[in-house]
Amino acid sequence: MSEKEHKVSRRQFLSYTLMGVGGFMAAGMISPMVRFALDPALEAGGEIDLVQVATVDELTDEPQRFDFSVEVEDAWYTSEQSRTAWIYREGDEIIALSPTCTHLGCTVGWDTNEEHPNQFFCPCHLGRFEKDGTNVPDTPPTRPLDVYEMEIQDGAIYLGRPIRR
């Protein structure tokens, strides 16, 4: 009796084996596909690491230009891009401004126009910004300069992405 119960027919044996092998094969094919599909979604959304740009004791109350480079990943390739920040301190506060004009994206300079000293000046369409980045009314830009995401550790300044105010 008990022997009969355990008997597996040739047909059953073959179909179990095929199912087993087929299952492994299917899993082998599908799992990488699922992984490829999910991978980009699992990756942190284009986070860039903070980069050390300057040290606190280099700073003055006059904005100074600091150049640094970040790795930027776009659709086709990863590239090093150079960035610039205008950094100054005011009392205990440290401010790092992006040099990108909020009008159409030219690069602004500090104190580069003789008629408007102590302002950020955009040579393209004469846009101007105050020292704290506020846009001067009646010039083309309509919002203040972006500020960089910033962290200070052991006297070193780390910058990340520019943040729209």
Partner: protein
């Protein structure tokens, strides 16, 4: 602005602010001094990219004008004049040609607008930060050429 569809959208929505086209003039030659020729083109592209970064909102970086160095001089010139006329007629009051090829210096007087000729340096042997410094110094001298041009009346064709 760069030669991409995305930046074209930006151009189309703010056309009235963009009055300058910059055309890189890039020589081709696979027979004589191919490496030197490539290095010229590379240097010009680096400069153009940097100039574009500075003046993104007012200047459009046109696709490079390429030519064989062995092409007839008159042909090279005429073809560029056709480009110039086209871009001038369709929205750009200022056109800047930038190159490392000294040929253009010899025909500068026949060019309708501003030529920037910068002899190329081979950056490949320099370390990165030094190369950046060199480019930065070059730019410091180049950028005023363009801002000064903006102070002047555009040249009629």
């Amino acid at each position: 602005m760069k030669w991409t569809a995305q930046q074209m959208d930006m151009y189309l929505s703010s056309k009235e602010y963009v009055d300058t086209a910059i055309i890189p003039l890039i020589p081709l030659d696979w027979k004589n001094d191919a490496k030197g020729i490539v290095s010229m083109g590379e240097f010009t592209s680096i400069l153009v990219d940097e100039i574009e970064r500075q003046f993104k909102g007012r200047l459009f970086q046109i696709a490079p004008y390429t030519y064989l160095t062995e092409e007839e001089e008159q042909d090279k010139l005429n073809r560029l004049l056709t480009w110039d006329k086209h871009f001038f007629k369709h929205g750009f009051k200022h056109i800047v040609y930038i190159t490392s090829d000294s040929f253009w210096k010899t025909v500068e007087k026949d060019l309708p607008d501003m030529l920037i000729w910068v002899p190329s340096l081979s950056l490949e042997t320099m370390d990165d930060s030094y190369a950046k410094q060199i480019i930065d110094q070059q730019l410091k001298q180049l950028l005023p050429l363009i801002t000064n041009k903006w102070q002047e009346e555009p040249i009629e064709r």
